[in-house]
C-alpha cells in the first residue's frame, strides 16, 4: 500500500520535472532567437569587413555596392535614416506629448476609454498601408504646397511615419504622467494653479524621464521602420540632409537588395548583413537607453 503510493509520487514527480523542462525550453527560444540574430549578422559581417575595411565603411561618402566601382559608405544610408526619423519625430513628439497630457490631465474617464482603443487601432494599421498612403495620397498633396517636390521624398514618408508612432509615444508618455503621485497635483491645485499649469509645471517635469524614454523608444521605431520608406522615399542612395529629396535608408536598401537576385555569398549579399548589423546596433542603443530611463523613472515614485 505505502510502496504503491510512493511509486505513484515518484511518477508524479518525474512528470512535473519533464513539464518544467519543456516550459523552460520554450522560454529559451527567445534567447535562441537573439543568439541566432547576433550569430548571422556577425558571421556575414565579418566576411564583409574582410573585403571592405571598416574605416571605408564609416567614412566613404558614396554607397554603390552593386556597381563595378563599388563604394561602401554607410553614412549615405544613415543620412536617409536620420533625416526621415527626424521628420517623423518632429511630428510624433509634439502630437504625442499633447495627446498624452490631454488624456492624462484633461480628458474625462469616458473620453479616455474611447480615445485609447482608437489610438491602438491606429498603431495596428500595417506599415505597407501607410506606405501606400504616403506615396499616393500625401505626396501629391505636398507637391501642391511645395512645387518641385519629387515623387519619392523623405518628407512625406517621415510625416506618415511620425503619425504611425504617435500612439506609441502618447501611450508610454501617458503611463509616465499617470504614475506621478496625485499628491503632487493636489498640492499644485491647492496653490490655485490651473490644470494646464499643473500639467506643464508639475506633472510634465515629474514624469520627464518616463517621457524621454517614450521619445527614445519612438526614435528606435522610426529608425527600424522599413516599408513606408521603401515605398515612399525611394531606393536611390543619396547623401543628403534635405527632407524634400529622395534617399534610401538602411532598411530600404535591404529591401532593394532582397528584391533582386543576388547570389548567396557575394559581397552584395553580405552588404545587407553589414547594413543590418549597423541598424541593429543603432536600435539597440536607443532601446537600452529607453528601457533604463523607464525603469529608473518607475523607481522614482
Amino acid at each position: 500500500m505505502s510502496a504503491a503510493r510512493l511509486s505513484h509520487r515518484a511518477s508524479r514527480h518525474i512528470k512535473e520535472r519533464i513539464i518544467e523542462s519543456i516550459l523552460f525550453l520554450a522560454a529559451l527560444v527567445s534567447v535562441g532567437t537573439t543568439l541566432g540574430i547576433v550569430y548571422i549578422l556577425v558571421k556575414e559581417s565579418i566576411v564583409f569587413f574582410g573585403h571592405v575595411p571598416l574605416w571605408d565603411f564609416l567614412t566613404d561618402t558614396q554607397w554603390t555596392p552593386l556597381f563595378d566601382d563599388a563604394h561602401f559608405g554607410i553614412i549615405v544610408l544613415l543620412s536617409g535614416t536620420l533625416v526621415s526619423s527626424g521628420v517623423a519625430l518632429a511630428v510624433a513628439i509634439p502630437l504625442g506629448t499633447i495627446i498624452a497630457i490631454y488624456l492624462s490631465e484633461f480628458a474625462s474617464a469616458r473620453a479616455r476609454e474611447f480615445a485609447k482603443p482608437v489610438l491602438e487601432l491606429l498603431s495596428g494599421v500595417p506599415t505597407i498601408i501607410y506606405g501606400y498612403f504616403a506615396l499616393l495620397f500625401l505626396t501629391p498633396l505636398l507637391q501642391k504646397l511645395i512645387p518641385g517636390l519629387p515623387g519619392f521624398n523623405l518628407l512625406s514618408a517621415g510625416i506618415v511615419m511620425g503619425i504611425m508612432i504617435v500612439p506609441y509615444v502618447a501611450s508610454i508618455s501617458e503611463d509616465a504622467m499617470r504614475a506621478v503621485p496625485m499628491s503632487l497635483r493636489e498640492g499644485s491645485y491647492a496653490m490655485g494653479a490651473t490644470r494646464l499649469q499643473t500639467a506643464l509645471k508639475v506633472v510634465f517635469p515629474g514624469a520627464l524621464s518616463g517621457i524621454a524614454a517614450a521619445y527614445i523608444l519612438g526614435i528606435s521605431r522610426a529608425v527600424g521602420e522599413t516599408m513606408i520608406l521603401a515605398v515612399a522615399a525611394g531606393m536611390q542612395p543619396n547623401l543628403t540632409w534635405n527632407p524634400t529629396e529622395s534617399a534610401a535608408t538602411i532598411t530600404a536598401f535591404i529591401v532593394q537588395v532582397a528584391l533582386g537576385d543576388l547570389p548567396h555569398g557575394s559581397v552584395g549579399y553580405q552588404t545587407i548583413f553589414a547594413a543590418g548589423l549597423t541598424l541593429m546596433l543603432l536600435t539597440l542603443v536607443f532601446n537600452v537607453l529607453g528601457h533604463v530611463m523607464r525603469r529608473r523613472f518607475r523607481e522614482q515614485y
Binding site: 512528470k15 512535473e16 518544467e20 516550459l23 523552460f24 520554450a26 522560454a27 529559451l28 527560444v29 527567445s30 534567447v31 532567437t33 541566432g36 540574430i37 550569430y39 548571422i40 549578422l41 502630437l95 499633447i98 495627446i99 490631454y102 488624456l103 491602438e120 487601432l121 491606429l122 495596428g124 494599421v125 500595417p126 505597407i128 498601408i129 501607410y130 501606400y132 498612403f133 506615396l135 499616393l136 503619425i163 500612439p167 490655485g192 494653479a193 490651473t194 490644470r195 494646464l196 499649469q197 527600424g224 521602420e225 522599413t226 516599408m227 521603401a230 515605398v231 532598411t251 535591404i254 529591401v255 532582397a258 545587407i272 548583413f273 543590418g276 536600435t283 539597440l284 532601446n287 528601457h291
Partner: protein, 307 residues
C-alpha cells in the same frame, strides 16, 4: 513683492483659465488629427479601390493586366502562413509565459530571459528577415517557403504573446493558487486546472494582437525573398488519397497580401494602384477586425472578472 490690485489678479486668473481652455481644444484637435488621418486613409483606400472590389478579385491570380489581376494566391498564402505562425507562436509563447510567471526561480538565467524578451520586442522586423535569410534558408535549407515565412513571423510575435500571457497570469490572485496547493495539487495541476483557464481571455487578446501584426508584416517576408508573381496555389493540405492530409504546402513558394500590395504600389501604372488600394482596404479591414476583437475581449474581461 509688489502688491497687486484685485483687477490685476483677476486678469492673471482669467488668462490662466483661457490658456487652460485653449489647451483643452488643442488636445482634442491633436486627437482629432490622429482620428482624421485614420479616416482619410480608410476612405482614400476605399475610393481608390472600390471599382476593383468584385468577387472576381478574390478568385483571380495576379496578372500583367491590372483589370484581370486578383488576390487569390495572396490571401491563400496569407492564410497558410498565419496557420504556421499561430501553430508555432501560441504554444511557445504561452509555455514561455507560464514558465516565467509560475516556475522561474529568481536568478540570473531568468533575468537574462526577461531582458532578452524586452529587447527582442524592440528589434526592427527587417532584422528578423535577415535572421530567416541567413539561418532558415541557407543554414537549415528550408527554402523560400511558407514554412520559413511562418516561422519568421512566429519569432517576431513571440514577445507579444509572452508579455500578454504573463500579464494575464499575473492578474490571477495568489489565493487561487494557494487554495489548489493546499488540496495537494502539483504545480502543473494548478497551471492546468486554474491558471490556464482563468488567463485564457487575456492570452487570446495577446495572440490576436500578435496575429494582426504578423498579417500586415511585409519587410521580413520580402527579405526572405518571397516571390511577388505567383500564379498558382500551394498543394492542397487535404488530399483524396490516404492519409488525406499532406504537408507539401509547407515547402511551396508563396506570396502574401502585403507583398502583393507592395508590388502593385511600386508599379508606375495607376491601374495597378487601384488594385493595391482594393487589396489594402481588405488588409486594413482584417487587421481592424482583429484588433477590434482583441480590444473588445479585453474590455469584457475587465468588466466580468470578479475574484
Amino acid at each position: 513683492m509688489a502688491r497687486k490690485d484685485i483687477g490685476e489678479i483677476r486678469g492673471i486668473i482669467a488668462r490662466a483659465k483661457r490658456f487652460d481652455m485653449i489647451f483643452g481644444v488643442v488636445g482634442v484637435l491633436a486627437l482629432g488629427l490622429g482620428l482624421l488621418t485614420f479616416v482619410t486613409l480608410f476612405v482614400d483606400m476605399a475610393l481608390d479601390g472600390y471599382t476593383r472590389l468584385t468577387p472576381d478579385f478574390f478568385t483571380e491570380f495576379p496578372s500583367r493586366r491590372a483589370e484581370r489581376a486578383g488576390i487569390l494566391s495572396a490571401w491563400v498564402g496569407t492564410t497558410l502562413v498565419m496557420l504556421v505562425t499561430a501553430c508555432v507562436a501560441v504554444p511557445l509563447g504561452v509555455a514561455a509565459g507560464i514558465y516565467l510567471e509560475e516556475y522561474a526561480p529568481r536568478n540570473w538565467v531568468t533575468d537574462i530571459i526577461e531582458i532578452n524578451i524586452t529587447n527582442l520586442a524592440g528589434v526592427p522586423s527587417i532584422i528578423y528577415g535577415l535572421l530567416a535569410l541567413g539561418l532558415f534558408i541557407y543554414e537549415f535549407g528550408l527554402g523560400q517557403s511558407i514554412l520559413t515565412a511562418g516561422l519568421t513571423l512566429a519569432l517576431l510575435i513571440l514577445p507579444v504573446v509572452i508579455v500578454a500571457t504573463r500579464e494575464a497570469i499575473r492578474s490571477i490572485p495568489s489565493h487561487i493558487r494557494e487554495g489548489a496547493y493546499a488540496l495537494g495539487a502539483t504545480k502543473w495541476q494548478v497551471v492546468q486546472h486554474h491558471i490556464l483557464p482563468y488567463s485564457m481571455g487575456g492570452i487570446m487578446t495577446g495572440v490576436i494582437i500578435g496575429m494582426a501584426r504578423a498579417i500586415g508584416e511585409t519587410a521580413p517576408i520580402i527579405t526572405i525573398g518571397a516571390l511577388t508573381f505567383i500564379a498558382f496555389l500551394p498543394p492542397s493540405p487535404v488530399t483524396t488519397a490516404f492519409p488525406f492530409v499532406s504537408f507539401e504546402w509547407l515547402n511551396s513558394p508563396f506570396t502574401v497580401m502585403p507583398i502583393q500590395i507592395f508590388n502593385w504600389t511600386s508599379r508606375p501604372d495607376p491601374n495597378f494602384h487601384a488594385n493595391a488600394a482594393a487589396a489594402g482596404f481588405i488588409l486594413v479591414l482584417m487587421t481592424l477586425a482583429m484588433n477590434g476583437l482583441a480590444i473588445w475581449l479585453r474590455y469584457r474581461i475587465r468588466r466580468n472578472i470578479k475574484w
